[in-house]
Symmetry: C2
Subunit: 219 residues, 2 copies
C-alpha cells in the first residue's frame, strides 16, 4: 500500500510515545526526530501535525514538539467525553435489533477478559477490554462514534500503562460488560445507555482518584 515516510513517521512516533520513549512533557525538535527516524524534516513535520490533531503533541515553534501529559483533571475530562460517546453508542446499538452473531465479538471479548483475569494476565485483560469497547462502537452502526472515541481511547491507553498495576483487579467490570451486552441484545436502548454510562463513570472515578493519589501529574 501507500507506505509513505509520513505514515511511517506517524506510526513510529506514536509507538515511541506509547512506549514512553518520548516521555510526556518532553520537547523534541523536528531535525532531531528526523535524524532519529532517518528521514528529512518534511515527513516528520507532517506526522507531527497529524499527532497534534490527535492530541498527542503540541507544536511550539522554536521550542519543539512537546509530548502532551495528562493530569488527573485531563483524564477526568477525557472520560466524560468517552462516556458520552460510548453510552450513546450502546443505546444506538440496542435499537438496531442485532442478533447474536453481530454481538459475537463483544461476547468473545468478555470471555477473554474472564480468562485473562483468572490467569492474572493484566495486559491480556486490557487488550480484551479494548476489544469490547471497540466492538460496542462498531455495533452502533455509526462510524463517527468510533472515530471520535479513538482520539480519547488513545489517551486512556497511555494512562493505563501506569494505572493498570495500581488499580484493584477489575472484577466488577465484567458484570457490567455482560449487563450492557444483554441490554443491547434484548433491544433495551435506555438500559444499555444507562448501564454503560454507569460503567464508565465508575472507571472515571476510580482512575482519576488513582492518578491523584499517586501524584501522577502526567502519565
Amino acid at each position: 500500500m501507500s507506505e509513505t515516510a509520513t505514515t511511517r513517521a506517524t506510526d513510529a512516533l506514536r509507538a515511541l510515545i506509547f512506549k514512553g520513549a518520548l516521555p510526556p512533557g518532553s520537547d523534541h525538535l523536528e531535525a532531531e526526530l528526523a535524524d532519529r527516524l532517518g528521514m528529512s524534516r518534511t515527513p516528520v513535520r507532517e506526522a507531527l501535525m497529524r499527532l497534534e490533531d490527535q492530541g498527542l503533541v503540541t507544536l511550539r515553534p522554536r521550542r519543539g514538539a512537546r509530548i502532551v501529559g495528562l493530569s488527573a483533571d485531563d483524564m477526568n475530562d477525557i472520560y466524560e467525553v468517552l462516556t458520552a460517546i460510548e453510552s450513546a453508542a450502546a443505546a444506538r446499538a440496542a435499537s438496531r435489533a442485532l442478533d447474536a452473531a453481530d454481538l459475537a465479538p463483544m461476547r468473545r471479548a468478555i470471555a477473554d477478559m474472564e480468562n485473562a483475569l483468572a490467569a492474572g494476565d493484566l495486559e491480556a485483560w486490557a487488550e480484551a477490554d479494548d476489544t469490547f469497547h471497540e466492538g460496542l462502537l462498531a455495533a452502533s452502526g455509526n462510524a463517527r462514534f468510533a472515530e471520535t472515541a479513538a482520539r480519547y481511547t488513545d489517551q486512556v491507553r497511555r494512562a493505563r500503562m501506569v494505572t493498570l498495576r495500581l488499580r484493584p483487579l477489575p472484577r466488577r467490570s465484567n458484570e457490567d460488560h455482560l449487563a450492557v451486552l444483554d441490554a443491547i441484545e434484548r433491544g433495551d436502548s435506555d438500559s444499555a445507555g444507562l448501564l454503560h454510562r454507569a460503567h464508565r463513570e465508575q472507571a472515571r472515578v476510580l482512575l482519576t482518584a488513582l492518578l491523584r493519589e499517586h501524584q501522577l501529574t502526567w502519565v
Copy 2:
C-alpha cells in the same frame, strides 16, 4: 500573532468551502490551490492535512483533495454524535452550580433568537443558535466537549446553508432552549441532559428528512 502561510491557507480554504466556492465532491490539486492562494505547495499541503483531520476534505493521492459531501445519512450520524456530546455537556453544566452571570451569554442568545425570529432574519437566528450551543459547551467546564463538538458543528453549519430556508420557522426551538437553560440554572442535571437530547433529536429528524426529501445527496 503567528500569521503563517499555513494558517492563512487553512482559513482561506475553510472560507472557500463554507462559501461553496469549492463545492462538495469537487477535486482540487495542490498546485492549483497553491496558485489560487498565491503561495507554494508546502503550506497548502499542510493546510489540506489539517482540513482532512477536520473532516472537510479527503486526500486522494494524484486525484487531488476532494471536498467532502454530506448525505442525509451522514447528517444523521453527525447529529447523533453532537447530541451525545451536547447533552452530556448540558448535564455537566447543570451539576456545576452556575449562577445567572455564568449563564448570561446563553440567555442573551435566546433573546437574540427571539428577536431574529420576530424580524424574520434567519441568518441572525442561526448565528444566535450557534452562540447558544457554544455557550452550553463552555458552561460544561470541560473544554474537550467543545473541541469535539466543533468538528461536527462545522458540518451542520455547512448543511444549514441549504436547509435554513427549507425548514419551517424554528418556533418551538426556543422553548427547548429556555427549558434546558432553566434546568441548568436550577441544577437539575438529568433534566438538562434529557431536554437537550430531545431538542437535538428533533432537529436531527427534521433536518435529515429535509435533506432526504430534497434529494440533497450532498450539501
